[in-house]
């Protein structure tokens, strides 16, 4: 029987990452959708980098950036007494970077599709920009939020290379499903590998099915 530990850890990592990215990715996507600033393409390129970089490259730089002697890493150690490498916290940081485009891009598309017109209408009805964002832009982008969250969650579940580089393989700390499968195969425990792999395969298919169904019935762009 497959272990529940890696499954629970994977779900926790994906859930925390999705929530954090909702908080961080929303303002970034909003800014990208509305700015006329010249640095916009550069920010878009940076946001999309995790899509094309090998996870090992990303993981390597994160390792350099987060290890306990680095500026960020030592600050974290001093603040929490815990290391950012080979720990759950470090995995969360890495996943946020790694899954960033999966949150930002659908949201940016949704915000751009809503456009300025409904926001101007809200302003003409005396809604402040923040009020207009919450009462008009968010509900009109609801499908975008759903798509972005589901994709972010699923992509974090499917992460492997970055986890291996930054987190290693520590049970209940960094040993997520993809790492567990890798170890099962290394140690020739194919039956266990089968169970987890088939589970991930089914999960990923269902997630994508949901996303495509949402987008068919309710295109992200609003009325």
């Amino acid at each position: 029987m497959a272990e529940l530990g890696p499954i629970w850890l994977t779900a926790k990592l994906a859930g925390v990452t999705t929530l954090l990215l909702l908080a961080l990715g929303t303002p970034l996507a909003w800014w990208l959708a509305h700015t006329r600033n010249r640095i916009k393409p550069a920010v878009e390129a940076l946001t999309a980098l995790p899509l094309v970089l090998p996870p090992t490259v990303l993981g390597f730089y994160l390792l350099i950036l987060l290890h306990p002697e680095s500026a960020i890493g030592s600050l974290w150690v001093r603040a929490t007494g815990d290391s950012l490498t080979f720990s759950f916290s470090g995995l969360v940081v890495a996943s946020v970077v790694y899954s960033l485009p999966f949150m930002v891009q659908p949201l940016q598309t949704a915000f751009a599709a809503v456009g300025r017109a409904p926001l101007e209408a809200a302003a003409s009805l005396r809604a402040s920009p923040l009020d207009a964002f919450a009462s008009v832009a968010v509900p009109l982008s609801a499908r975008g939020f759903l798509t972005a969250s589901v994709l972010t969650f699923a992509h974090t579940v499917g992460e492997f290379g970055v986890v291996l580089m930054v987190g290693g393989n520590i049970p209940d700390e960094t040993r997520v499903v993809s790492i567990a499968i890798y170890e099962h195969v290394e140690t020739l425990r194919y039956a266990d590998a089968h169970v987890l792999s088939a589970g991930l395969l089914a999960f990923s298919f269902v997630v994508l099915l949901v996303v495509y169904s949402i987008n068919r019935r309710f295109p992200i762009h609003a009325v």
């Binding site: 017109a117 101007e120 809200a122 005396r126 009462s135 509900p139």
Partner: protein, 359 residues
């Protein structure tokens, strides 16, 4: 006493287009903003509302909304204006009722209630409908109701009734006229302007071409090229004398002279009406003609005659009492009749040329 005006001295650049407007608009009743498309009408309204990146000065009743020299630029949601956009811009995630409540919840204190506008615009049957299924005319009615609910101190209406049928439009126009709030009303329909607005501002190529009392503005020769040749005409103030139900005609009195037009039951006897007469529907005679089908013969004085070079036409302006009629005749006819300024003439208008609903 603060001045009851909206003071504008603004420049708004939009790519290759720029709007430059310096004008002081009295804040009572309806001011029409008229002109060809692309002339800057919408940009002017958006500048006043604060949606464009404008430079200059805007103040309403001496409350400054924009003063670039002092870095004042009040954001749109803090300017006490209500807008009806050309494309209605209802919120797709809310039903009609939700759209109205959205405005009511954020409204300035005191004034219009949801029940009032629902009643005035006949929105009862639409309240629980999603906006996606509404027709163009229904959307415009909801948008107008929503804008009124803000209790704004100035309404900016960008062709708010373009999708409505004539009858509904007449209802809503007469309701708008009863409202105490001043309005800027963009329209490309000159008959609507003539009927509705005390004042008219003509915009073309981003510049103010004329501003003043509607009757005077629509008479001005120099805006002819802007208002379009076949729309050129004048507004005549006339008092309703009687309706003839048998012949379906309404008789009106123009400074002591009678005109007859197709019956319009909307007008009450004794009421003052504005009738628009198109220049091309007016013929001129130097003697009173008899025994012919044209019902309206108005005697007056020729006060202006412009012969258009390289064109078969001439434009004549005839004074009738203290009102004016414009006549578009051929240059050849003007020469044959030997027309000269100051001469007495008769202006002939076929009753049938009045629009079905000139009001």
């Amino acid at each position: 006493m603060p001045s009851e005006t909206l003071e504008l001295d603004v420049t708004t650049r939009l790519g290759a287009f720029d709007l430059e407007a310096t004008v002081e608009l009295p804040l009572d009743g309806i001011t029409a903003v008229f002109g060809p498309s692309g002339g800057g009408k919408t940009t002017l309204l958006r500048t006043i509302a604060g949606f464009e990146n404008a430079r200059g000065y805007i103040a309403m009743r001496e409350e400054q909304w924009l003063d670039s020299s002092r870095r004042i630029d009040v954001p749109p949601h803090r300017r006490p204006v209500g807008c009806v956009f050309q494309d209605a811009r209802l919120f797709g995630h809310l039903h009609v009722r939700g759209n109205l409540r959205y405005a009511a919840r954020r409204a300035l204190p005191r004034g219009t209630t949801v029940d009032e506008v629902v009643d005035a615009f006949d929105l009862g049957p639409l309240l629980s409908r999603p906006v996606a299924g509404l027709s163009g005319g229904e959307r415009q009615r909801v948008a107008l109701a929503r804008a009124l609910l803000t209790n704004a101190r100035l309404l900016l209406l960008d062709e708010p009734l373009s999708a409505l049928d004539t009858e509904r439009k007449a209802d809503i126009l007469s309701y708008l006229e009863t409202l105490p709030v001043p309005m800027l009303y963009v329209s490309h329909a000159i008959d609507e302007v003539a009927l509705l607005a005390e004042r008219t501002l003509v915009l073309a190529d981003g510049r103010v071409r004329a501003f003043g009392a509607t009757r005077e503005v629509l008479e001005r020769l120099d805006i002819q090229s802007i208002t379009g040749r076949f729309e050129a005409g004048t507004l005549v103030l006339a008092r309703v004398v009687e309706h003839d139900a048998q012949y379906q005609l309404t008789t009106l009195d123009v400074d002591g002279q009678r005109i007859v037009m197709p019956m319009s039951a909307r007008l009450a006897v004794g009421e003052l009406a504005r009738v628009r007469v198109r220049a091309r529907d007016v013929a001129l005679a130097t003697a009173r003609p008899e025994a012919f089908s044209i019902r309206n013969v108005l005697s007056g004085t020729l006060i202006d005659l412009v012969r258009e070079e390289d064109s078969p036409f001439a434009e004549a302006l005839v004074e009738i009492g203290d009102q004016h009629l414009r006549a578009r005749i051929t240059r050849a006819a003007a020469d044959d009749l030997g027309l000269s300024i100051g001469q007495g003439v008769y202006a002939l208008v076929k009753s049938a040329t009045f629009d079905d609903s000139p009001f």
